[in-house]
Structures are given as C-alpha cells and as structure tokens.
C-alpha cells in the first residue's frame, strides 16, 4: 500500500502544478503562522475572517470587470479595508468585533449578489464554491500567481524578521511601547498591510471561509506547549508548514478538497498539542 502511494506521489510530482501548489502552500502557511501569533495575542483572531470575506467581495468585482489579473484589484482593496479596521477601529462609533462582522457579512453578501447579477461564467455555483472553500484553487494557479506569491511571501518574512523586536513590543504592550517612543500607529498600520497580503494569498490555499484556521490554529497549538514569544512563533511556523504540506499531499492522494484537508490536519495538530500541554502540566 505504501509502495502504491509513493508510486502515485512520484507520478503526481511530474506535473508542474503539484510542485507549484506545494511551494505556494508552504510559503503561505509560513507567512500566516508568523503573523498569526501576533493576531491571536492582540485578540484580532477574527480579523482574518473579516478580511477574507472582504477579499471575496473584491474578487467578485474584479471578475465582473473581467480584469486580466484580479490580484491587482483584490490586494489594494483588502489592504485598504485592513487599515480601516485596525487603524480607525477604536475611534469610531462601531467598534472592534461589530465592525469586523459588518464588513465581513456585508462583503460576502455583496460579492455573491454582484456575481449573480453580472455573471460572466456559466458555472457560477462552482466559481463561488471554489473561492469560498478552496477545493482545488491551489492546484490551478497560473505561473504568474506563483511568482507573485513567492515575492510577496519573501517580503512578509523579510519584514517580520527585520522588525521582529518592534512587532514583539507592539504585540505585548502597546501602551508601554508607545511611551517608550515607538511609533505604534505606524507599526499597527504595517501589521494591517501584512495581514491583508497574507489573507489574499491564503485565499488560494484554503478559500475565503477557512482562512482564519491558517492564522489561528498553529499559534494556539504551539501556545498549549510553549510559553515564550520566540518559541511559540518557531513552533507555530513548523506546525503550519507541516499541516499545509501534509494537507496538500493527502488531498491529492485521497481526492479530498485541499482547503478543508489542510484545516483538518491543523485541527489534529491542535488536539495533539492540547493533550501534550495537559500532560506537561500534570508532570510539573
């Protein structure tokens, strides 16, 4: 059985789109887990959900406008909404989770409505389904999307490593960081932009509805066992990359939808680390 699986895998790896999917999947999971820790600690776990639904709305507009590469519209639009949510969220009448809920549900409904009224495809249900659940979208990437993903991921990882100390300070105690002279507003803005970029990229991997899982699960799993920021980030990256790679391989071997398979592997990891956390507490 193992031989048959390996034989099948070696056959599948002769197709360039499988290699592309694995590269993009690993890069996206790496980026999402890096910033996932910051988002979970800042209690912005659901922002991924809100932004991915916004991106779905933007994608439907781009589809209706027949843009050659929808990324050029979806990315700036999502970045704008992320800035709106994170920057002005505390100073407006509609705050925090309510603002996310309004943006999320509104964008989702408007997106579906626009796609229905101005349908450009004969398979509308299919287009919506693959965008929301990412059943095969990671396996149907255009080479230009792969290059864009590599460049954007390198940018996100580079910025995170370069500004690690500042992001750490803003994550843990924003007021203290501000009083210590750090431009917290600018760093919050940067975090918002990075999150939007990751969300747009991650939509290809797991679909709009499952993006939050990529951001939340690896961080929460590693927090069950590790306590320092650095070790949580490193463990989170390893878990996330492992889940993405395993999820893609299982999906192509078993014929399951890619997005939900990756999330299922993330859930298993979380349960394992939850048990590990309980056991290590008992042993102390």
């Amino acid at each position: 059985m193992l031989n048959a699986m390996l034989e099948k895998l070696s056959l599948y790896f002769t197709f360039p789109f499988v290699k592309h999917a694995l590269i993009v999947g690993i890069l996206i999971s790496l980026c999402s887990s890096l910033l996932g820790v910051t988002l979970v600690l800042k209690r912005f776990s659901l922002i991924g959900d809100g932004l991915s639904h916004t991106a779905f709305g933007a994608l439907s507009i781009a589809t209706v406008l027949n843009l050659s590469n929808d990324m050029y519209f979806v990315l700036p639009f999502t970045v704008f909404c992320a800035v709106l949510l994170l920057k002005s969220g505390q100073n407006t009448r509609i705050k925090g989770d309510a603002a996310i809920a309004i943006l999320s549900v509104g964008a989702l409904a408007m997106g579906y409505l626009i796609m229905n009224i101005f349908a450009t495809s004969t398979n509308l249900a299919g287009d919506v389904c693959t965008t929301l659940f990412g059943s095969t979208s990671i396996l149907t990437l255009h080479p230009s999307e792969v290059y864009l993903c590599v460049v954007l991921s390198a940018l996100v990882v580079g910025i995170f490593i370069f500004l690690y100390n500042k992001i750490f300070a803003v994550t843990f105690d924003e007021n203290f960081a501000h009083s210590a002279g750090l431009r917290t507003g600018a760093y919050n803005l940067l975090i918002a932009v990075l999150i939007a970029v990751i969300i747009v990229l991650a939509m290809n991997l797991v679909g709009s509805l499952l993006v939050s899982a990529l951001v939340v699960f690896p961080s929460l799993s590693s927090m069950r066992v590790y306590k320092s920021f650095k070790s949580v980030v490193i463990c989170s990256v390893i878990l996330s990359v492992l889940a993405a790679a395993l999820g893609i391989l299982i999906a192509i071997l078993a014929g399951t939808p890619v997005g939900s398979t990756i999330v299922a592997v993330n859930i298993i990891e979380f349960l394992l680390f939850f048990l590990l956390g309980v056991l290590s507490k008992k042993n102390r």
Binding site: K8, C129, T130, S135, T136, T140, P257
Partner: protein, 153 residues
C-alpha cells in the same frame, strides 16, 4: 397448445431481458476499448488531481496537443443548433460543486442518441487531444476518438 406457447414466450422474455441495454441504445457494439500507448491516463488519478489536470489542459492546451489521453467521467450532451450536438466527458471536483468538461468527437458518423450512451452515464474516452478553431476564430479543444467505453449506467 398452452405448452407450445409457454416455452417460446419464456425464451423471448429471457432474451429481451438480456438485450435490454441494447434497446436503450447502450450496446457495447458501439464502443471499443483502446490498447495502444497512452500519454496521459487520467483514470489513474484522484478526483482532485483529475479536476486540476483538466483545468491545466484547458489553460495551456498547446502542451497537450497530439497526446493520447484517457479520461473517465459523466457523459454530457450540449445542443449547439437544431441539428448539431456537442458531446463531452465531464468531471466534478472533490466538493462536487465545480465541473470541468472536455469535448470529444467520435470518428465515423455515429448518430445521436442511437450510437451514444445515455446522458449522465459514466464513460471512458481514449483519444488524441487536438486544438481547433471555431468559424469566429476562437480556439477550442477536443479529444479525437474512436474509443468510447461505457463504464457504468
């Protein structure tokens, strides 16, 4: 008298039951299997891989032109005009919400519906992937085949 009618009638009903598929126009006489070299066998892949592969064939058809392809899926018919139909083998993705289809053209002059399986039946098509141009100048792709097998009704 009764006995002399009973046995021929019994024989007639037995033969009719055995020949039922032919009466529905799904006789295997119309279908043949392929025994030559296959460049791309989609029947050996998982549903997720087949869906992705067919999608990639549609966006970069020049890579696959002239290759012998074997695929399995649901038989579909689309009416182009009153006298002309388009025949396709359709594959669904893992969530069964999206589907990709490839047109196939059988050699000779088979008649529809007599020489084709029922719509929705699972079929296996083996043939050469070819590109063509519509009268309006649009590219289209199809499998040029005389190997159509009925897998399941």
């Amino acid at each position: 008298m009764k006995r002399s009618f009973f046995f021929p009638l019994l024989l007639f009903f037995s033969l009719s039951l055995a020949a039922l598929p032919e009466m529905n126009g799904i006789s295997n006489l119309f279908f043949a299997s392929y025994s030559g070299k296959i460049d791309l066998d989609l029947t050996k892949m998982s549903s997720t891989m087949i869906f992705a592969q067919v999608f990639n064939m549609l966006i970069s058809p020049e890579t696959f032109e002239g290759k012998v392809i074997k695929m399995r899926g649901a038989f579909a018919v689309y009416a182009i005009s009153e006298s002309e139909n388009l025949f396709a083998v359709v594959i669904k993705d893992a969530t069964e919400c999206c589907q990709q289809g490839l047109e196939f053209k059988r050699r000779g002059s088979p008649r529809f519906p007599a020489d084709y399986p029922p719509v929705g039946a699972e079929i296996e098509v083996t043939g050469v992937f070819r590109m063509g141009k519509t009268p309006d100048g649009y590219d289209y792709f199809y499998i040029d085949t005389d190997n159509l097998e009925l897998v399941k009704l």
